[in-house]
């Protein structure tokens, strides 16, 4: 079976680097995108198994990206987990209603990513 892939979408290179390391520890191959549009183009070429997605980014934000993604061919397949410093309950609900599977509030640690991957069925233990 081929290694599952996770696309990390965040405009901060440092966040992408930290999250990449966490998902590699979970045996995922990581890809990176610095905004929603970049992510959408990568998804059209190669749909990942999981997407960790920031909210506020230049060019295209996370919420717009997820709405577009869910209308793409095979766009329903990836598990989308928002990772955002946005903690307002209405915003979290909006993200879930727009098609995200899970939501992580920043700051987070590897345990939380592990827990969310487990809940989403991406990993088994």
């Amino acid at each position: 079976m081929s290694q599952p892939t996770c696309l990390i979408v965040d405009d901060s290179r440092m966040v992408r680097r930290v999250v990449s390391r966490i998902v590699r520890e979970l045996d995922f191959a990581s890809q990176e995108a610095e905004n929603g549009l970049d992510a959408l183009e990568q998804c059209r070429m190669n749909m990942p198994d999981a997407i960790l997605l920031d909210w506020n980014m230049p060019v295209m934000d996370g919420l717009t990206f997820v709405k577009h993604l869910r209308n793409e061919t095979d766009g329903q397949n990836p598990t989308v987990i928002f990772c955002s410093s946005e903690r307002d309950v209405h915003k979290i609900a909006e993200a879930l209603d727009a098609g995200a599977n899970e939501y992580v509030m920043k700051p987070f640690d590897s345990d939380i990513i592990h827990s969310k991957f487990f809940q989403a069925g991406l990993i088994t233990a």
Binding site: R87, I92, L96, E102, I112, S115, Q119
Partner: protein
């Protein structure tokens, strides 16, 4: 490690012994580190200048409530929502629907042993609330969650968790449905709080007035006890179960092989049902005792062979502090 330890080494051994005597739990090999980190926080909160002052004070005055708090702090483990979900789900997938057929809207009483900082109890309450809303509208469940008095118990009662806590094991949807954001923290909604009574209790010496329950959740607790305490506990907990009630343990646990009233429930392996009455149990115990006497007719030799010290004058640390022991 010795560089970070602030007390003479004998103090750590004494606290390890005290924990084993009171709770039946033997601390892991890194117990000096556990003691140092957990009890330093407690010492500060209890108003002692240093950890040594608190430990010396406790052994000098024999203040049992402080001793219990210290033991509870050493037993605390990091926990998260929906831990060992495989076993937890059998509460609402198997046990409550089965009991609901008989009880209907009458109260189903559930006891949770070792509630720690409350995540297990609130997870069970979330699953129950979903069952009420999906299939059993008049299901009436009353949870009682018990543990030693501790900071963890205080947190369980408050139902207040950090944003890190609510992201471990809890889905974002459940977080939004069952918690309210208060500043930086998340507080459990009244719907769940009203289902649970948190109660301070010695876990190996349960008080009579705890009452009897239809289900006892005792997950990932028994396996942490010393064998002797396991046997005693499994017998004692049966006094708090109603006729034909159920015991739910961790999905990787097994009950000790001894005389007890629990049999397979017909459900998952980690769900047991009470079958024998107290009278039947006493008869079986008497029979086993007689068989043992036949195997070991000389009691002195019996104890010597097992290297058991039965000197009547030997006083344990816990006895010296007037604490109830395992």
């Amino acid at each position: 490690m010795s560089a970070v330890l602030s007390m003479p080494s004998g103090y750590y051994d004494a606290l390890k012994r005290l924990t084993a005597e009171v709770s039946g739990v033997v601390l892991d090999d890194d117990y000096p580190f556990t003691i140092e980190t957990r009890l330093s926080v407690l010492a500060r909160l209890e108003g002692y200048p240093t950890l040594v002052d608190m430990v010396q004070g406790m052994f000098k005055t024999g203040e049992s409530r402080l001793a219990i708090k210290m033991v509870a702090a050493m037993l605390r483990r990091d926990t998260h929502f929906f831990e060992d979900n495989v076993s937890l789900r059998s509460l609402t997938d198997f046990l409550l629907p089965r009991l609901y057929e008989v009880q209907k809207s009458r109260a189903i009483k559930v006891l949770i042993v070792g509630s720690n900082s409350g995540q297990e109890a609130y997870s069970a309450a979330i699953l129950t609330d979903k069952l009420i809303n999906s299939a059993c509208p008049d299901l009436n469940v009353e949870f009682t969650a018990i543990d030693y008095p501790s900071l963890a118990m205080d947190r369980a009662k408050s139902g207040c968790y950090t944003h890190f806590d609510v992201q471990r094991g809890l889905s974002a949807r459940d977080m939004l449905s069952y918690f309210t954001r208060v500043g930086e923290d998340w507080v459990v909604n009244e719907t769940l709080k009203n289902l649970i009574t948190f109660r301070e209790s010695h876990l190996l010496r349960l008080s009579e007035d705890l009452g009897k329950y239809h289900v006892i959740l005792c997950r990932n607790f028994i396996s942490k006890l010393q064998v002797r305490s396991q046997v005693n506990f499994v017998r004692k907990i049966s006094q708090h179960i109603k006729e034909r009630g159920y015991l739910l343990i961790g999905s990787n646990e097994k009950l000790p092989a001894t005389v007890h009233p629990w049999i397979a429930s017909g459900g998952p392996d980690y769900v047991y049902q009470r079958s024998k009455t107290e009278a039947e149990l006493r008869i079986e115990e008497e029979k086993t005792r007689n068989e043992r006497k036949l195997l070991h007719p000389d009691p002195v030799r019996f104890f010597e062979e097992r290297n058991i010290d039965k000197s009547p004058n030997k006083k344990t640390l816990a006895e010296a502090l007037n604490l109830k022991t395992a």
